[in-house]
């Protein structure tokens, strides 16, 4: 380890942070425009062409806003909470690879990822669980009942859904036989894991919505119930930090989802063995993962525009009674399927998607039965 290596890390980290922060700014615009389209309105279009200067205008407004601290708030924690929230959101993407082949710059081989940890997935899990502290502390230190309720809700929610999220990671880990993000992506060279793990991917996507507090799981900030939840008392740049954390987490979790289940930086399946393949044109890696992230983000926005918020106790029931057993069953199915494919017949790997779809149908059937009971009561 020499000085230039450290310098390289610092520069790469700096660049990634800037990309994430820029991405956050334009994600807000993207969301507002996409929501507007879905809701038959126009959205922000005054600042610059197509409203592209809107995030800058928002940032300027927030920077110059007065920052208020409630009189009886815990001053230190009140200040610390936004920082604690935003840092994990930014550092979590360090292990996401943006390409495979290193390129040379200034006579050095530079890898298109910051850290190549052999337990990359565990790193993601651990960082993701730190993020909850910021929200809890923000809610608690504000000395506001609404904020406190938001903070409490988020604790319960994030802890519940972290288990499911972790178990949905296991599906990808087992299939790749490694916890290293690069290996997981390379294992999807021929086939994305979403094909082998359709239900696992679905559970992952649902759990991420809960993990990043997005609608319909936006309990901690449920506007209609808790006014603004944990960030009720925040204003100015502190609020901007909390806001930034939320949107950065969206990007990060989309990047992770793309890496684990949608082939990461690998090309789309119809482009393999062409000139657009990663093996042929390595610099397309970041482009592919960018496209995948944008598509996943659109999914989140779409869900927000469509669904009502699930109630808090139902959210917990859904997580513990349905998602967790389902993901446990999927881990079991995946493990057995892999062993059978290795020992008996290679085609038995297709037992995984078939069986997991059966599990999924069973779960949908259960929900349907509960609803049907309601329907009967209704008629």
């Amino acid at each position: 380890m020499d000085f230039t290596l450290i310098l390289e890390w610092i520069i790469k980290g700096f660049v990634l942070t800037l990309i994430l922060l820029g991405g956050f700014a334009y994600l807000t615009l993207y969301e507002r425009r996409a929501l507007a389209r879905i809701q038959a309105r126009i959205g922000p279009n005054r600042a610059g062409p197509f409203g592209i200067l809107q995030p800058i205008a928002d940032a300027v407004k927030l920077i110059f806003k007065e920052e208020l601290t409630p009189a009886l708030a815990d001053k230190l924690l009140f200040l610390l909470a936004p920082v604690l929230t935003v840092v994990p959101a930014v550092v979590i993407t360090a292990v996401v690879p943006w390409g495979k082949q290193s390129f040379s710059l200034f006579g050095r081989d530079i890898t298109p990822y910051i850290a190549d940890i052999n337990v990359g997935v565990l790193y993601i899990m651990s960082i993701a669980s730190i993020a909850v502290y910021g929200i809890v502390l923000a809610g608690w230190s504000s000395n506001n009942k609404y904020a406190m309720m938001g903070g409490l809700r988020s604790t319960a929610q994030m802890i519940s859904y972290e288990l499911t999220l972790g178990l949905s990671f296991v599906g990808a880990i087992l299939l790749a036989g490694s916890m290293r993000m690069l290996d997981i992506v390379e294992a999807q060279k021929t086939m994305w894991f979403v094909v082998l793990q359709p239900i696992g991917t679905g559970i992952f996507l649902i759990a991420t919505l809960a993990e990043v507090n997005r609608a319909p799981f936006d309990m901690p900030e449920a506007e209609q119930e808790l006014t603004a939840g944990y960030h009720t008392e925040y204003s100015g740049m502190k609020f901007a930090l909390l806001f930034m954390a939320e949107y950065t987490k969206m990007i990060a979790i989309s990047a992770i989802g793309a890496t684990l289940f949608f082939g990461g930086y690998r090309e789309f399946w119809f482009l393999s063995n062409t000139v657009f393949s990663i093996d042929h044109t390595p610099w397309l890696g970041p482009v592919y993962i960018f496209i995948k992230i944008v598509i996943l983000l659109f999914g989140m926005i779409w869900v927000r525009a469509t669904y009502p918020r699930i109630r808090y106790d139902r959210l917990m029931a859904f997580g513990w009674k349905l998602l967790l057993p389902m993901s446990l069953a999927l881990v079991f199915i995946t493990a057995v399927g892999i062993i059978l494919a290795e020992q008996v017949n290679k085609n038995l790997i297709w037992g995984i998607p078939v069986l997991s779809i059966l599990v999924g149908l069973f779960a949908v059937g259960m929900i349907d039965r509960v609803l049907r009971r309601k329907d009967n009561a209704r008629l």
């Binding site: 929501l35 879905i38 809701q39 038959a40 309105r41 009942k145 609404y146 309720m149 609608a215 319909p216 936006d218 449920a222 506007e223 209609q224 119930e225 808790l226 006014t227 927000r304 525009a305 469509t306 669904y307 009502p308 918020r309 699930i310 109630r311 808090y312 106790d313 139902r314 929900i367 609803l371 309601k374 009561a377 209704r378």
Partner: protein, 409 residues
Amino acid sequence: MTQLQEVSVDDIKHLVSERAIQGETMLLNMGPQHPSTHGVLRLLLELDGETVVNCIPDIGYLHTGIEKNMESKTYAKAEVMTDRLDYLNTVGNNLAYSMAVEKLVELDVPDRAQSIRVILAELQRIASHLIWLGTTGLDVAAMSTFLYCFRERESILDILEMCSGQRMMTTYIRPGGLWRDVPVEFEAAVRQFIKIFPRRVDEYEALLSRNPLFLDRTFGIGKISAEDALNLGMTGPALRATGINWDLRKARPYCGYEQYEFTVPTRTEGDVYARYIVRIEELRQSLKIVEQALNKMPFGPVRSSNHKFVPPPRSEIGINMEALIHHFKLWTEGFSAPQGSIYYAVESPRGELGVYLVSDGGPNPYRIHWRTPSFDNLQALPYMAKGVLVADLVAIIGSVDIVLGDVDR
């Protein structure tokens, strides 16, 4: 001058449970500035965790003194105040007031005016229900519904503006008829609305009615029995959702509602979902009434020719001495109503909207009292909110469909 009494803690102690006084439950102020109290309603909540133990509504934050104000105005001028009562049902308020005055002074209203009154009142009912639907969606965080509903409401407001020059505060229905006849574009605009609207209602239903999350948030929440609802004086869709078929348009028809074919939707569950279904169905029924009224709309005058009470047309003033005198009298002194009192009620989107008018024989009403549906329906909130979660409370407030201007007057 009356002395204001200070309220001490002991005076309101009986409103919360013992446990709140011992500090085991949390008291939470919801409102008057809160996104989902639909205006400036303040609720004092006693919470055990997130479960509502007690819910104490506190009203009066939008008190505007409309009733008192109307006493100092002539019958014609007081009508402007009625628009400000229930600002989502301005046409209905005008209608209730005008009909009460008409009954007091025994004025006849031409048939054409009656038809137009029905059309506008039903369009207003649709507009009001659209706001309710949108905000109900918003209360359970289905945000897109809100904007879709406002899109349709806008076309109704355009029709109102076309008639009266105002989008909301129309004062278009006057004692003795209407302010003036509808413009020529009116019929085409209403027909266009009739054409597109059924499809849009299906669209809203597709978004919400069978949505598992929406069902989960509304079904079986905020139940109230028919008996309780009657005892609390609930009216309108909230009452009909408990299974009682009481609609003034059917029970005591006015404005010729008896000629139109429509059904009064009822449900028996009395929960948030039942209220939702009843109102959705009312959207369709109202549209049916609008269509029938539009088809039957006769030609003729839209104002009573009794110029003792209704101002003569502008064109006559220059050529007719009597018309000039009437005009002058009506716009300065106003007309005098015979001594007596009257109660007249119409079916507003929220329930029975009644006006109690006392006349001492002078040109101003001696006393006006409004029996507003929001006020009575709001009384049921503490009963419905017992033991629900905070999230459900929000849905319940939305389903009662209160307008604070209507509550506080």
